[in-house]
């Protein structure tokens, strides 16, 4: 892997690290004012950018055959993670408030599809090489 590609990957991982911190802080503040009403969706909100962003993008440079993901792969993957994170945040808000909103399912469906699409694009890119 080229040094510039490694830098770009590290840069992406750092952005996800920032998002993880933001999500953790957001859920901490939200739960603080929720009168001891808790939701796992809100408590573990930070896991989406952490496990989906920080971890894979920090580990990627360690794999010798790894490449910097192509633009379609990155766009699909980032979009999917964004949808999953927002979906988890909304699910937490609605669960704490005690209401059921069927539309939230769309975030999980679209998020999972886009994330998987990003992974498929990347694997195809690696295979082409």
């Amino acid at each position: 892997m080229f040094i510039s590609a490694k830098k770009r990957i590290c840069h992406t991982a750092c952005i996800y690290l920032g998002l993880t911190a933001f999500c953790g802080l957001f859920s901490l503040v939200y739960e603080h004012f929720s009168h001891q009403v808790y939701s796992s969706y809100m408590v573990y909100l930070f896991l989406f950018p952490l496990l989906g962003g920080v971890l894979p993008f920090f580990l990627l440079p360690l794999i010798p055959s790894a490449r910097f993901p192509s633009l379609p792969a990155r766009y699909a993957y980032h979009s999917g993670l964004a949808a999953l994170t927002v979906g988890s945040c909304l699910s937490g808000i609605f669960e704490i408030y005690g209401i059921i909103v069927p539309l939230v399912k769309l975030y999980w469906i679209v998020g999972l599809c886009l994330t998987l699409l990003g992974v498929v694009f990347y694997l195809a890119q690696v295979k082409r090489r």
């Binding site: 009168h35 001891q36 766009y75 979009s79 909304l90 669960e95 408030y97 005690g98 209401i99 539309l103």
Partner: protein, 316 residues
């Protein structure tokens, strides 16, 4: 074209995600949707006393004047009401570091125990304060209901079936029959239509059931969804035939810690209640007596103000 896509995709997706999220939030909390209008109770109660059934009319007491009781015999104080058909005594308790308001109710006919929707409309995000719905329906005493508009589950009100979709097979509902008796059922064991056929006048879907045959039906750590201890609570119960109790506990303030479901069940058991059921609590908890909110409802934290709700349970 490809360059444009590369350039604008993040912006396009960001706008799409933001716009959709905004719509979901508005749909959940703001946009009102009217599904069905309820006939004007006050007009109907003047003109068709004794009407019942599932045609949209309310069941009313078979006898008596159009006012809740005989006007001549009405006696009202700050904490009590009585006439020929209704007797209400409100007592404030201090238990579990919490102010608890108890309305002891004796009726001559089950038809005086009623429910009402906000704006008399069955729908979503249609809300009014408990005191406003109470005033619109000339309620003597009212408490908040099950906030059906924000939840799934059976909705039968005043003998009319509005929703027959179950929220969860384990969901416990309170059924109030035409003779005024209470039963706690689980949605998985009976359909809403069957309950209507059995003579259900009201079905409230929040829960859980607190007392069954005078025994506590919740565990010390039982909670509503993810709610933990110490919250404002609303509950309704029955001692015996046509002798009811409505309970509202304050919470989330320095003066009142609030109750857990188990504490609420314990308290109602100590009163001698046989069947008790938990209604929507938290910021929704409110008790209105003769147009006055007698507890301290908390909306959005410690702000003492009534929250708008979907429905009420009332005497009138």
């Amino acid at each position: 074209m490809k360059n444009k896509f590369q350039k604008f995709y993040p912006l396009f997706f960001g706008i799409l995600l933001t716009a959709f999220t905004l719509y979901v939030l508005l749909d959940a909390f703001v946009i009102p949707r009217s599904y069905r209008e309820v006939p004007d109770y006050s007009v109907q109660s003047q003109s068709s006393f004794g009407a019942s059934g599932n045609t949209g009319s309310m069941q009313q007491p078979a006898s008596g004047s159009s006012s809740p009781g005989g006007e001549d015999s009405v006696s009202v104080t700050e904490s009590s009401y009585s006439d020929d058909n209704i007797s209400i005594q409100i007592t404030q308790y201090r238990e579990y570091d919490t102010d608890i308001y108890v309305a002891d109710i004796i009726l001559s006919d089950a038809g005086y125990l009623k429910t009402a929707f906000a704006s008399n409309i069955y729908g979503k995000n249609i809300t009014q304060k408990t005191s406003v719905i109470a005033e619109n329906n000339q309620a003597i005493l009212a408490i908040n209901g099950d906030y059906y508009g924000a939840r799934n589950g059976y909705v039968i009100r005043n003998g009319v079936l509005y929703r027959d979709t179950s929220s969860d097979s384990a969901q416990e509902d309170l059924v109030i029959y035409a003779d005024g008796s209470f039963e706690i059922v689980t949605e998985g064991t009976v359909s809403a239509s069957e309950l209507l056929d059995r003579g259900a006048q009201q079905v409230l879907s929040f829960g859980p059931g607190l007392l069954k045959n005078g025994e506590i039906a919740v565990e010390p750590d039982t909670e509503v969804d993810k709610a933990k201890n110490s919250n404002p609570r609303t509950a309704v119960g029955i001692f015996n035939n046509l002798h009811y109790v409505m309970v509202v506990a304050d919470g989330r303030t320095e003066q009142s810690a609030g109750l857990s479901l188990y504490e609420l069940a314990e308290f109602m058991q100590s009163l001698g209640v046989q069947t008790a059921y938990n209604l929507d609590g938290g910021g929704s908890s409110a008790m209105v007596f003769h147009g006055t909110v007698i507890n301290r409802p908390t909306t959005n934290g410690s702000r003492i103000t009534e929250r708008k709700v979907s429905d009420i349970v009332y005497i009138g």
